[in-house]
Structure formats: structure tokens, C-alpha cells
Assembly symmetry: C2
Homo-oligomer: 221 residues x 2
DNA sequence: ATAAGTCTGTTGTTTTTCCAACGGAAAAGG
DNA sequence: CCTTTTCCGTTGGAAAAACAACAGACTTAT
């Protein structure tokens, strides 16, 4: 598990921890790792989760397929991100979504009960970890609300503009790249791909933005 | 603050606490209360929050108005529910939403720093409170994802069906009432009211459901 | 290098939603 | 009890999105 220490130091969950802190936490939290191939399902709808997870490397999509087979990407997980925290409440029921590795990925598992039940003496970092976990969930919560605000836009055009301008703000540059291809972006925003593609070109022709593949640039009007 | 103890005992945050626990926590967490009139804004976009809040009585809507004045209800808060947890992360920035009281409401405020920084001896319930808070946020997280799945439906019809069937499941009965009037439901699902109204009647005529005001009944097909 | 497969933009048709407006029913208020 | 306001269903025209299908550019695998 030692090789994950540099990564973990950069995660929000272990923010502020030293190497020693992390090593002792890994032990205290019963950390394990598991690798997934590209395209492999990490979890499926109907399954159960009893751990808190961090993506060490690769990329995961949390997605949902409805009764008629429409696919929707609910969220994208990048290295260092924590996930699964919504399902570790006792009796929270079965998973309602699929988690799929869109690249070869490695996931770290942490025993949730050991996180919430403090080990007073052994881990000096434990209190900070709790704080960090809380902050992380809060931020995720906020980003979910943010996505809800994209989704609540009435038109494809507004969805695109709100998502792209938020992304520009987030990356602190009017030029940025998004982690989706066209189909994935359409699934993320829950719109039709071809209609979205057309709308993107219309926005480009109107001079609001430019793009090449997944690289976008927003222009002042 | 004593009069809120019975309510707080029934909240998720204080689940499992005795009267004494709650009284000492109220003191430890610097709890205060504030009342809002019907229609009054509790918080406005651009403001800042430094407390964790619980709605004691009334009803709040978390809503967002976009540049062109379209109103969207992002969430509804009912008595006993915790809210504001997404904005208490240090440097999390200004509020992006409005919080409005749709009925005369009372809100309880708790000092977040006192929650996260344990007071070892004074409050025996503090550890459990942390656990409860974590569970609560997790559940909220989950319900946000659930709403995202309503929103990701491509048509008004599917949005209605997914929301109503989830609500039936949640209330454990095929007959149930929703906490929205038509306009609010339309805002919640981000669709046009009149179109939604028409779709509802179409669903009724097709025999999938029945309704009277905000009382709905789903029928097997 | 070639072939197979994927990604993206484009077009035309069909379907759905949005919007504005109206009237009746119900609720609220005096 | 009467007036005013809100709520809800309905309609028709305008606008937008969904859908299906296709062709060129680019990737990947052999």
C-alpha cells in the first residue's frame, strides 16, 4: 500500500497528513486495493457497499440505465476522489447505479466503521480525517447541487452554457478541456447527442465559443 | 431553546439522544433560533453561511433564479431536516442559491466549528452526533443523486413517472400526497407547468394514475 | 498498411415542449 | 356573503429537441 502514499497526500481526505500519518491510517482503516480493467464494472445496481473508496488511478463513471435502456452518466470520478459515501449509512439499501471503469483503474477501500469509531490513541490524524471527510462530502454535495442547476436549464443551449462557463470558472481559464467526448457530454447533460452537436456549432458560429475535440475556449461577447 | 427538544429528538442529527444529551449539546453548540415570515428569504444568493441549520417548523425551498428569471426549486426542506451543510467548508465561497420560507418557519443554528472540534469530556453524545451528521449528509447526497435521476429523464412524461413512482415507494403506498402544487412540481422537475398539466391528464386518461389536487394514486398496468 | 471501428458534424422529419392566453373552480380575505 | 386572488386544465401556434440516417475524419487493431 506504500506506493499510494504520494497520491493520498494530495487527496482531500488526507489533506494535511504526513507520510507517517497516512501509513498508520492505512493500517488503522484496513485499507485494501483492487484493480479494474477498462470497461469493467466496479459495482452494479443492486449490489451493496460497506466501504469508503478512493480512486487511485484511472477513471470511473457512475451511471444509470433506465427501464428502456437509456444511459445517463450521473457523475465522473477522477483519481484522488472519494466515492461511495452515499451508501455506507446502515440500512441504506442496494446500489441504485452502476459504477464502470472507463479506463484501467485502481480503487482503494477503507473500512467505514473504523473511520467513524475513533481510535483515540493510535492515530493522531484521526480527528483531522473526520473533518476532511466531512468537508469532502460537503463539497460533493455542493457539486451535485451544481449539476442539478445545469440539468434544470430548460434548453440544450442553456445547459451547455452553464456547464461550460462553470467549467471555465473551475479551471480558472477561458480555455480548458472537458473530460467527456460528445456522447458522454450529451449523457452527462441528458440531451440528444446530435442536437447538442448542432447547438455547439451554432454557438461557435455565433462567436460565443470555439472548440477542437474536447478543448473549449469561451469568448467574450 | 428547551421547547425544541421534542422536535430535535425526532431528527436524524440527534437520533438516539436523550433529553439531557440534547440540552447539553444545544449549549455546547451555541444553538440559536430565528423565525421567518411566509415568503421571507432566509438566505440570498451571494450571502455566506457559517452555521449548520435545522428547520424547526414551517417549510423552506432552496431555489435558484437564472439570468433570465427562470425559477427552479432545487430542494424542499421540511421540519427536522438539516441544511446548509454544503457551504460550511472553509473558503467554500458565496451561496449560489436562495432559501425562501414558503410558510412561517423557524430555523435553528448550530456552530459548525464546535461540532467538528470535539469537546471530549462535556458531551457524551458528541461522538454519536458526528456519526449522525455524517449519515445525514450521506443520505442527502443520495437524495440529490435521486433527484438527478428524475431530471435526467428525457421527457416530461418520464420525469413525472420516475418522480411519482419513487414517491410512492418512499411513502410505501400507491396512494400518496406530494408537497407541491402544480407550479411547484413543474419548477421542481424543471418543466413547463401547462405542458406538465397536460401530460398528467394524458397519464390519467391512459389509466396509469389518478389524482385530486396533490393526492396521487398509481395504478398497475 | 489496411481494415474495422469509433467519433463527430450535418440534414430532414417527427415529436415534444414551450409560451401566452383564457375560463372555470377553488381558496383566501374582508 | 361577496370580492379578489390563486390554482388548474385546456387550447393553438411557435420553437426546440428527439430521432434516424449518413459521410468524412480519426483511432485502433491486426
Amino acid at each position: 500500500m506504500k506506493k499510494y502514499v504520494p497520491l493520498l497526500k494530495r487527496t482531500k481526505l488526507f489533506s494535511g497528513a504526513g507520510d507517517d500519518d497516512i501509513l498508520s491510517m492505512l493500517n488503522c482503516l484496513n485499507a485494501t486495493a483492487r484493480a479494474y480493467n477498462k470497461g469493467e464494472y466496479a459495482f452494479r445496481q443492486g449490489g451493496y457497499i460497506r466501504d469508503l473508496m478512493i480512486l487511485a488511478e484511472g477513471r470511473l463513471h457512475i451511471q444509470k440505465e433506465d427501464y428502456w435502456g437509456n444511459l445517463n452518466i450521473l457523475n465522473e470520478i477522477r483519481p484522488g476522489e472519494m466515492f461511495g459515501e452515499a451508501y455506507i449509512v446502515p440500512n441504506s439499501g442496494a446500489l441504485m447505479n452502476d459504477v464502470i471503469a472507463t479506463e484501467a483503474s485502481t480503487v482503494l477501500f477503507f473500512d467505514i466503521d473504523r473511520i467513524l469509531t475513533a481510535c483515540p490513541s493510535a492515530c493522531p490524524f484521526h480527528t483531522q480525517l473526520l473533518k476532511n471527510m466531512f468537508y469532502t462530502i460537503s463539497e460533493k454535495n455542493k457539486s451535485l447541487v451544481q449539476k442539478l442547476s445545469y440539468m434544470s436549464a430548460r434548453s440544450t443551449r442553456e445547459k451547455l452554457l452553464s456547464y461550460l462557463s462553470d467549467e471555465a470558472k473551475r479551471q480558472n481559464s477561458s480555455s480548458f478541456s472537458i473530460p467527456f467526448n460528445r456522447q458522454q457530454l450529451a449523457d452527462f447533460l441528458s440531451v440528444d447527442r446530435s442536437a447538442m452537436s448542432g447547438e455547439l456549432c451554432k454557438l461557435r458560429d455565433e462567436g460565443l465559443l470555439g472548440f477542437h475535440k474536447s478543448e473549449f475556449t469561451l469568448y467574450e461577447v
